[in-house]
C-alpha cells in the first residue's frame, strides 16, 4: 500500500520538523515549528530522545567567530519526552518536556548542573494533509507556546551558570510549512516566528523583552532501503534586539544556522529509530551573538495506530 510505504518518510519528516532550534538553554529555547507531526493513520506518538551538544566557541556581537580557549569546555546533555495526539483528522496536539544537564570546565573550576527545561506545547492544523490532493503538497499551520518552567540565569546558584535551563520568557510562536512526499522521497519547507513576551528585568521595577524571532527550515530525504530513510536538513534563526524598559539594547541581535544529516529506521511496525547531527559552520559571519555547537541526537518513536 502506498500509504504504508510512506510511513518511514512521514516519520522522518516528523523528526526533522522538530530538529531546528535545539539551542542552548540560555540563548534560544523556543521552536516555532512545534514538535513534529503524526501520519494520517496515526492516533498517538510518543518520542523519547536524547542529545549531546559540545560548545566549540561563540560568535561575538560583531559576528566574529571566537573559538573557546584551551582551558574552557562546555557540553550540554538533553533528554526529551514528547507526545503527539490527533484530536481530529486535521488537528494535532503536542507537548515536549526536556531535562537538561550542562557540564562546564574553566581552568580549575569544574561544575555541572541542570534540571527541567522550558516545556513546549503546540497545536497543528493541516488544511491540506498528505495525499489529500494528487498534485498539492501538505500544508500545515502550527501555533505553540514555550513555558518558562526552567531555571533562569538570575536564579543560578553556580559560578559558571551550568544550572541554567531557561531564558525566563513565555514565547508564543506560529509557523507554516509545506511538505511534498512522492514515492520514495520528500521535501519540506517551513517558516515561523516567535514573540517573547515582556518579563521582569534583572533589577526590580525594570522590564525586558527578548527579540522577535524568525526561523526557516528546509529538508529533503529519500528512502534508500525498505523503511530506512536518509535526509538532509538546514535551518536558520534570527532574533531581533533585546529591549530593556522599551529601549533597544545595542548589538543584542542574534543569528544562527545549521545543517546536517539525519536517519530514520522503522525497524518494526510502530517503532522508528531517529538519529541526526546538526552542524554549525564555525566561521565569522555565519552566526552572531551566539554559542557555536555541534549536536548529535538519537530518539525512539512509538506510534499507535
Amino acid at each position: 500500500m502506498m500509504l504504508r510505504r510512506l510511513l518511514p518518510l512521514v516519520a522522518l519528516a516528523s523528526a526533522l520538523a522538530a530538529a531546528p532550534a535545539q539551542a542552548a538553554a540560555c540563548c534560544l529555547s523556543a521552536n516555532a515549528f512545534g514538535i513534529g507531526r503524526l501520519a494520517m493513520w496515526e492516533t498517538l506518538a510518543v518520542i523519547l530522545g536524547g542529545s549531546v551538544s559540545p560548545v566549540a566557541g561563540r560568535w561575538d556581537q560583531q559576528a566574529t567567530w571566537r573559538p573557546n580557549p584551551a582551558e574552557f569546555a562546555e557540553t550540554e546533555w538533553r533528554t526529551q519526552l514528547s507526545a503527539l495526539a490527533a484530536v481530529h483528522p486535521r488537528l494535532q496536539l503536542s507537548g515536549r518536556v526536556p531535562l537538561v544537564l550542562t557540564q562546564k570546565v574553566f581552568a580549575e573550576q569544574q561544575e555541572s548542573g541542570g534540571g527541567l527545561g522550558d516545556t513546549q506545547f503546540a497545536v497543528r492544523y493541516e488544511p491540506v494533509f498528505q495525499g489529500e490532493y494528487e498534485f498539492l503538497p501538505e500544508v500545515a499551520l502550527n501555533a505553540g507556546v514555550t513555558v518558562p518552567v526552567g531555571r533562569t540565569a538570575t536564579d543560578s546558584q553556580t559560578a559558571l551558570g551550568s544550572d541554567v535551563t531557561s531564558r525566563g520568557a513565555w514565547v508564543p510562536s506560529a509557523s507554516a510549512s509545506v511538505e511534498l512526499a512522492r514515492s520514495n522521497w520528500f521535501a519540506l519547507l517551513g517558516g515561523g516566528v516567535t514573540w517573547p513576551l515582556p518579563m521582569a528585568g534583572f533589577e526590580p521595577g525594570r522590564t525586558q523583552q527578548l527579540g522577535l524571532g524568525w526561523q526557516l527550515t528546509a529538508a529533503g530525504g529519500v528512502e534508500v532501503k525498505k523503511a530506512l530513510v536518509l535526509s538532509l536538513a538546514a535551518r536558520g534563526a534570527f532574533e531581533g534586539p533585546i529591549q530593556m524598559d522599551g529601549a533597544v539594547v545595542p548589538e543584542s541581535e542574534a543569528f544562527e544556522m545549521g545543517l546536517g544529516p539525519a536517519v530514520a529506521w522503522t525497524f518494526v511496525p510502530h517503532f522508528t529509530l531517529q538519529g541526526g547531527v546538526d552542524l554549525e559552520l564555525h566561521a565569522s559571519g555565519l552566526g552572531d551573538n551566539r554559542q557555536g555547537r555541534t549536536t548529535a541526537s538519537l530518539a525512539l518513536r512509538y506510534a499507535y495506530f
Binding site: D60, Q157, T158, A159, V164, F202, S252, N289
Partner: protein
C-alpha cells in the same frame, strides 16, 4: 597635603585601615586607600586624571569602565563608589570586587546596605546574585561576581544608608 585630605586620612587610620605604600596616581587599579592618598580631595572633586565627574563629565549613575573612580558623590548621587576587581582583568566564573563607599565629603560610609547585580546586555540575562560583606569602614567585598559567558558584562552597585543612596554601573569584558 590639604586639611580636608589630612582629616580623611585620619578617619581611615582611626578606623584601623592600613594605607598602602604602593599607591600612586598611575596605579591601574584604584583601591580605596589609593583614592584618598592620591588626592580624592572632596573639595576639589578628585584628581584631574582620575575621571571624576567634574573633570570627565560623567553623570552620577552612568556606566564607567572597570577600575575607574566612579566619581565623587554629589547632591544628586550622595554616595560615591571606587571599585577594583580580582582577578583583573576579570575572568569566566567567580570574581571578587572591592568597593569603597564614600559620602559627599569623601568620608567613608560604613554600615550601608550594598547590593550588586550582574547583567549581560547582549544576552539579556544576569547570573547568580553576589554576596556583600563589609570588611572595613566604608570598605565592602563583593563575593561571587559570576561571569558565566565570554563577552561584555555590567555590574550595578546600589548602596543606601538612611537618607543617602547611590547607584553605579561598571562594565567588564570577559575574554
Amino acid at each position: 597635603m590639604s586639611l580636608p585630605r589630612i582629616l580623611a586620612l585620619a578617619r581611615l587610620v582611626s578606623a584601623g585601615t592600613l594605607l598602602s605604600a604602593a599607591c600612586s596616581p598611575a596605579a591601574q587599579t584604584c583601591t580605596p586607600q589609593c583614592e584618598l592618598v592620591d588626592g580624592g580631595d572632596p573639595v576639589d572633586g578628585g584628581p584631574a586624571d582620575a575621571g571624576s565627574p567634574v573633570d570627565a563629565g560623567v553623570d552620577a549613575g552612568s556606566t564607567v569602565d572597570a577600575g575607574v573612580d566612579a566619581g565623587v558623590a554629589s547632591p544628586t548621587n550622595p554616595l560615591g563608589f571606587t571599585v577594583s576587581i580580582v582577578p583583573d582583568p576579570p575572568r569566566l566564573g567567580s570574581n571578587t570586587m572591592s568597593v569603597f563607599l564614600r559620602g559627599a565629603n569623601g568620608v567613608p560610609v560604613p554600615g550601608a546596605v550594598l547590593t550588586a547585580k550582574t547583567f549581560m546586555p547582549s544576552m539579556g540575562h544576569g547570573s547568580a546574585t553576589p554576596t556583600v560583606v563589609e570588611v572595613g569602614a566604608g570598605v565592602y567585598t563583593v563575593n561571587g561576581v559570576s561571569f558565566t559567558m565570554f563577552g561584555t558584562w555590567t555590574v550595578t552597585l546600589t548602596a543606601a544608608k538612611g537618607p543617602l543612596s547611590g547607584t553605579q554601573t561598571f562594565t567588564y569584558s570577559v575574554k
